[in-house]
Each structure stands twice: as C-alpha cells, then as structure tokens.
Symmetry: C2
Subunit: 512 residues, 2 copies
Amino acid sequence: MIQSRDARSGQVLNDVAEETNADQLDTVCREAAEAFAELEQAGRHGRADMLAAMADALEEDRDEIVACADRESALGTARLNGELTRTCFQLRFFTEVLSDGAYLEATIDHAGPTPMGPRPDLRRMLRPLGPVGVFGASNFPLAFSVPGGDTASALAAGCPVVVKVHNAHPATSVLCARALAEGERRAGVRGQVVSLVFGDRSSAALVEHPAVRAVGFTGSLVGGRFLSDVAAKRPSPIPFYGELGALNPVVVGPQAARLRGEAIADGLAGSFTLGVGQFCTKPGLLLLPEGEAGDALRDRLSEAVRATSAGAMLSDRVAGAFQEGSQHLRHLDGVRVLAEGGLGRDGLAFPGAPLLLQAEPDALGGRLREECFGPVLVIVRYAGVDDLSRLVSTLTPALTATVQADGADISLLRPVVSQLSSQAGRIVWNGYPTGVAVAWAMQHGGPYPAATDPLHTSVGASAIRRWLRPVTYQDVPAELLPPELGDVPQPRDAVPRRVDGHLVLPPGYQGA
Amino acid sequence: MIQSRDARSGQVLNDVAEETNADQLDTVCREAAEAFAELEQAGRHGRADMLAAMADALEEDRDEIVACADRESALGTARLNGELTRTCFQLRFFTEVLSDGAYLEATIDHAGPTPMGPRPDLRRMLRPLGPVGVFGASNFPLAFSVPGGDTASALAAGCPVVVKVHNAHPATSVLCARALAEGERRAGVRGQVVSLVFGDRSSAALVEHPAVRAVGFTGSLVGGRFLSDVAAKRPSPIPFYGELGALNPVVVGPQAARLRGEAIADGLAGSFTLGVGQFCTKPGLLLLPEGEAGDALRDRLSEAVRATSAGAMLSDRVAGAFQEGSQHLRHLDGVRVLAEGGLGRDGLAFPGAPLLLQAEPDALGGRLREECFGPVLVIVRYAGVDDLSRLVSTLTPALTATVQADGADISLLRPVVSQLSSQAGRIVWNGYPTGVAVAWAMQHGGPYPAATDPLHTSVGASAIRRWLRPVTYQDVPAELLPPELGDVPQPRDAVPRRVDGHLVLPPGYQGA
C-alpha cells in the first residue's frame, strides 16, 4: 500500500493507492498507446489548448494541492505556491513553443540536380516518439513530478505520459493528475494522456514496457543509472533522459573575494541551505583563494551556517542518505568541520542540519567529487590560477558551474571558464546556481553524471526535442504530408522552415 | 597483421598495418583530445575551410583511391567514383552548414521579469562534445568509412575523429586518411583531427576510452548492438549512434500494380540487387496485392532475378553471412523460392546470387522480419487493406518504407502510410529506397533496430547535432561569451538566433 506521510512528523496520514501490479501496468501502458493517436489528432493547436486548460485546472486547485504537498514534503507553502506557479507557467510556456512551431524543424528540399544525379523532393519534420515514462523527483512535488518539465514537454510533443508516482508525495500526485485530467477533458481531448503507476516494483517494469518509447527521470545517480541500464538492456533500447546528481562547483576569484566576500558568503549560505539543500543545483564545492580575503569569506560563511537551524527533510530516506553521506565526508582524511547548523525546533522526524566542511586539495577525490544531497558544502582553497585549473580538471561534469569574479578576475579566470564550460550545462556568473528559469535559453543537464544524455535539457523550450524523432517524406503527395510541410501551408500551419537550404520565417512572424 | 585483400579473387594483396595495441590506442585517443582544442581554435570558418581542403585533397587522389577501393571491395569503379564524388560533396555541404550557423541553436533570453521573479540573462548554444569514435561500414568504403557522414559531421561540429578501420578496406582507409591529413595541413589546422586504429580488439577499447565522448557506427545489428552495450556500460556512458539493419518494406497498391506492374518489378529488381544487395536501404520485403496484377508483377520480378548473375560480395564474411541467412530463409516453413540468379562469371571468391522468395503471411516473423544483408527479397501477398495493415503492424522499425501507389491507392493506403511513418525514418513514394541524398531534409535512421538512437540521422545536415551539447551562459560577460552569442555580433559571427522567444535571421541572410 502506498501511503501519504507527514514529512514533519513522520506520521502516516492515509492510504493513497495499492501498488500497481504487472497486469495493471500493462493496461495503463496500452491505454497510453491508444491515447497517442488522440494527441496526434488534437494537433499542435489542440495540444496547446490542452496545456493551457491543464494550467488553469491546477490553479483552481491551488490551495488543496499546495496544502497537501506541504504536508507530504515539508517544503513550506510559500515555496510550494511558487512551485505551482512555475509548473503552470511552464505548461503555458509550451503553448508558445507549439504555436511558434520551429521545434518541428520542418525542412524542405525541392527536387533538383546534384553532382550525384537528380535529387527527389525531400521533406523532413520531427514526429512524436510515442508514450513516455516519467519519474518525478521527491524535491519538486509540483514542478518535477506528475506535472513538470518532462510531462509538459512530452504532452506538447504529442506523447502520452505514464508517471511512476514518487513514494514521498503520492497524495499530491493524485491531486495533480486529477487537475491535469480535468484540463484535458475541458480541451476536448480524449484518452488517458497522463496516467499514474504506484510502487517501486513498477519502476523497472515501466521502463521495460514495449509501449513505452522514452523515459524522463529526475533523481539520484544510483536510481537513475539503474533505470538507464534497464532502458539500454531492453530488446529494443529506448532513450533514457536522466537528470542525476551534480557537485555544482563554485569558483571565487581573488578580487571578488576581496571586494564582495561578505555578500558572496551570505549568498552561498542561502543557496546551499535553500530548501534544506535539496536542490539538484545546490552548490556542493567552493573553490576559494588562499589568503586573507578567502579566510574572511570562509569565516563569514561559517557564521552563517552556525546561525542556520536544521530543517525538515523530504523523507526518512532522504534524511538517512544525508546523514550517511555527510558523516562519511566529515570523517575523511584531509577533511575537517568548519561549522554546523543548530538542531532546529523539536519534533522534526527527518531533520537536516547545515554542514560546512573544508578539504585539503589532495583529498578532492572519491565521494568528495560526488553530490551529497542535502545542506552540505565543502570548501577547497587554491593557491593561484594554475592550482585552480588543476583542481577543476579533476572534477566530474555537473549541471552548473558558478564563477564569482570581478575586475582582474575576468581575464585571470578565462581559461578556467573554458574548462568549466566543457564540464557543465550552465555557467552561472556572479550568481548562485539554485534557481533554474523556464526559458528558451535554459540548459538543465550536462555530461554524465549530471545527466545520462548530454545532448538534451530537462528544463526550457528545448526539452521537447527529447520526445521527437525525424521523419523524411520523399516525393510523398501533398495530401498525405503533415500540414506544416505543404508548399503553401494555411496560416495556422505556417511555421519557420528551412527551404532549399535557407531558413524562412512565416508571413507576419514576430521578429522577422 | 591487417591485410588488404582483392575482393574478387580473395587473394591477399599486401600488409597494411599492425593491429593497434592498447598503449597505441590510448596515445591516439589522447592526441585526439589535444586536437579538440585545435578544432575549437579554428572556429566555424576555419573548420569549413578545412573540410573544403579535405575534399580537394581527396579529389586529387581520386584515381589512386578509387582503384584501391575497387580492388578491396569489388564495387566497381563507376560506383566508387560516384561514392568519392558523394563524399567530397558531403564535406563541402558541411561548409554550408557551418557558414549558415543555425545548427548552433544560438538562443538569447535577456534579463527580465517573470511570474516567478526576475530572470537572469541566459544565452545558450551548442558546443562540441569532444573526440568521437567512428566505425565505418564495409559497403561504403568511401562514403561511410574514414571519410563519410560521421567524420564530416563530427569535424564540422569541432570533434576530432578516431576511426576504427574496417578490415575489408584497410589500404583504402590509409589512402583516405592521408588525403584528409593533407587537407588539414593546407588549411593550417594542427593536431591529429582524424586518426586510425586497426584490428577488432580496438573496437570495444575505442568505445571504452575515457577521452572518447560519442561514437558513430554503421554496420550490422549484432556488431552495433554489442558496441552500443559497451558504450552504455561505461563508468560514464556516452552517446552511441548506430545505424544498423533494416528490412525496408515496400508496399505496392492494387492500382499501382495494375498500372505500373512491369516498371515496378524492374525498378525493384534493380534496387534489391544493386551493389549485390549490399545497401542498408535495400528493400527486403515486398507486400504485394493478391490477384492478377500482383501475379504479373511477381512473375516479371522473377524473370528479372533469373536474368541477373551473381556479383562479387565485399568479403568472405559478408558472403558467408549472406549464404547462411538466405539458406535459413529459403528453408523456413511457409517460404518458397520464386527465382534465383545465375552463378555469374568464374573466379569470384565471394559470390552472391540474387534470390527471390515468397512467404505466407503467417510465416512473417523471426528472421523474416530482420535484414538479410545481400541480394534477397521476400514477397508476401495481401488480400486487402485490412490484411495489409495487420501485416504492417507486425513489422519492426526500418530505415525506410516505400509505397508504390496510384489514383485510388492514395486514399486507400492513407492509414498504412500513417502506420509506416511511425516505423520508419523515411517514407519513399513511388521510388526505391536505395540512394540516400546528402541534403538538409534527409533522415537516415529510425527507431531500433534501424538505429540505436531514434532522434538522429547519420546522413544530411542534421547529422551534426549528434556531436553537440547545449551550454547556457548565465549573466556571463560579453568578452567571455562565444562570439555568436554577443548582442551585436560581427558579420562573420552573425547566425540565425532565437532572441527573447523569436527567431531572428542575420542581416542579409538569404531567404529572409
């Protein structure tokens, strides 16, 4: 039985659902395959209307959803209201992506001569893959779960979604799915375009189901790698998009340390303890210059940590992993504790207290190079830019890499920025990595282990590319072509296209 | 020792190279990692110049290369001259892709307010992955081997290439690599941007090498799946782009059979026996209507097959696999031989004679649904469109699906075309699938087993996408941004971009 728990008290609130068994999972996946035709039938504009209606329905249930998510996650209603706003914004954002239509990569090469002989008429466009499986994360019950970047982008693409419900927020998941279904109904789309499966035994079974054509995952390195391997071992392997863990290094330049040491210390303390450190973009490593300015920054950061109390973590599992991981790190050779946060208020079942460590440069290996999910930050001091560059070269890829730099730091750190951009999906300048905007230009991913597939993003407009594959129509009659590939499409079917080698924007396209 | 053999006589011509050992492979891969910086340094325009110079250098060595490839492959000088022309065209085609620059997907979101609070300045662009491994195919010694779609697109992206030389044409590979190196030298690029490794023990070792960040493969299902699994099992998995085998079904509509039966029979006979059936797009299954017109088409096709002699296959391995596969198929229950080609001229060491089979609809399973590489075509008859649709639903995905249709066939076959477009990378209308144009709108790939990654193509402009990953620069100072992401780029850095949600073409862009 899948139960809803109060994340602050640890108490069971109620039963939510039975674990999905194999037959039920098979039925759900087959129904998703049937809904695939319905989403195709709805077309780009019908799917955009559906996403907007889903956002409206989620907004209507805001109070109930946020209250439930707060009980199950302890993330607080302010944060969760923001998360619901984000998830609705994201659904509406994909209506823009659909309306724009460039995501289809519509391309036409008219028949003509080539040095190899005559070329036929070729028309290429991206088409949806089919039903996809989505694994939501415990730390974003509203923005990376039943609704979220994977679900919004997959539905936009035309792919029905089967969500493996996260055990940490099953009641929230059911409420969200109800709202999404209501939005779908209002938009006149039929079929199960979003469905839920429950229980850990459903995880591998979902990835293995023949009807499932791709998987989106947000979560831990261990869990993600396990399911990625399951996807790769299928008789017919499928794409697996795992957004896993990251150390998210922060480099502070010597001048920035001198000029803005206090502000950077305060900003970092806020960033690594935000949401009890339960962000995949949490900064986990601080590369700080040796010398007085670096010492002062370190001391200020230590003070801030000591002034921060433990918060309620998402679940016993998350809190247990944090305890184990932070205990391991603090007892490594070459590692010492700089500061610890207070115990916090009584009665927290799964407390997580902030922890600031310092590691000798030579100790930076093994688990010190891996994400420890929770409010822990490790400082390593560097002597000069060569030393810094050597340290950076030993890091594993990450979702983000942050640089704090002023004045002379900019040219000093140029080679380090180049190094970091080969190891991270996003370079953050004079900011903090927590906070991932839903935007056209966002990249949330990176080389392994940041993500299992380095080519894609799980946040932002391009997230839709993960659920699409190209199809070329050679000499196919106009009446059988997708409407976006006709020679003179109707206004509603007119999208940016590449025609005979050149991009062409539709009449009246904004920005043209 | 890797030896060059005459594919017609089977005789060893000469030793070409020692098998690459583990230390040598490590050195080659490390040198490729160093060359990565050189290709970045060269920039888009420098890489375009290099590709053009490589094409020139290949043209200069045309006679020597074609003669050598003809000895090693028996494909004939006419075909191989065409293949060299194609490979040079492809290198020059990617200079256009580079010059256009839209492949970078440059995207800018200026800072601004959002419902979730202020958004930073975000600039996103695709960056090269790093060194890539390429496995060429035996059947295209000039167009899918040392030079070819993988190498051209990877170099264009900025990724050095390490080629595992195909055992069937090692001397040709060395000549081609020499020409590519000469082109690189003339363009003033330094470092080993294309290097070779020899021997089957290098295959898995190349895929496993930590410096290798992606792999392109063209070849068999068994070999491709093996190496794909190696890539997936790495400590840090990497993208593996395998273009594997395909059955490439052909559907003939009732009206087309009546109106153009003879022409279709002749066209199909030419297509499936072209190059001794050694094309990945060879049609392997013909779905033909029952009745007189279908009978006549079948009989004409049988005649054409009987009039076609055996040709020299690429190697003992290819010929052996064809013998085994075609023997297996012809002895299956429900399968009978309609026609066989003649033995051909004496003295062929590895002959392949065309074979036309007919299978009962119920027999269409197992190896009848898999590619048999070589000149074999299986006919299955269908009674009506429902029967056809049921047969099509049992097929595995393919690189291509061909439809021959006239008049009333078009509406009759509409649902079948829809089915086929969910199972194939390219729909060919009233044509034949052999022949893959290098073009912006080409798609050469498909869902597994056609390809290991359904999202990409190995031929055409979009092939470059496989070697690139997105990086977002958040609030990064202009002087550290790639030049294509500046607010007002220089003319040579101006590319199509998405700015604040809308595509913008550079001043003077053709097609704007």
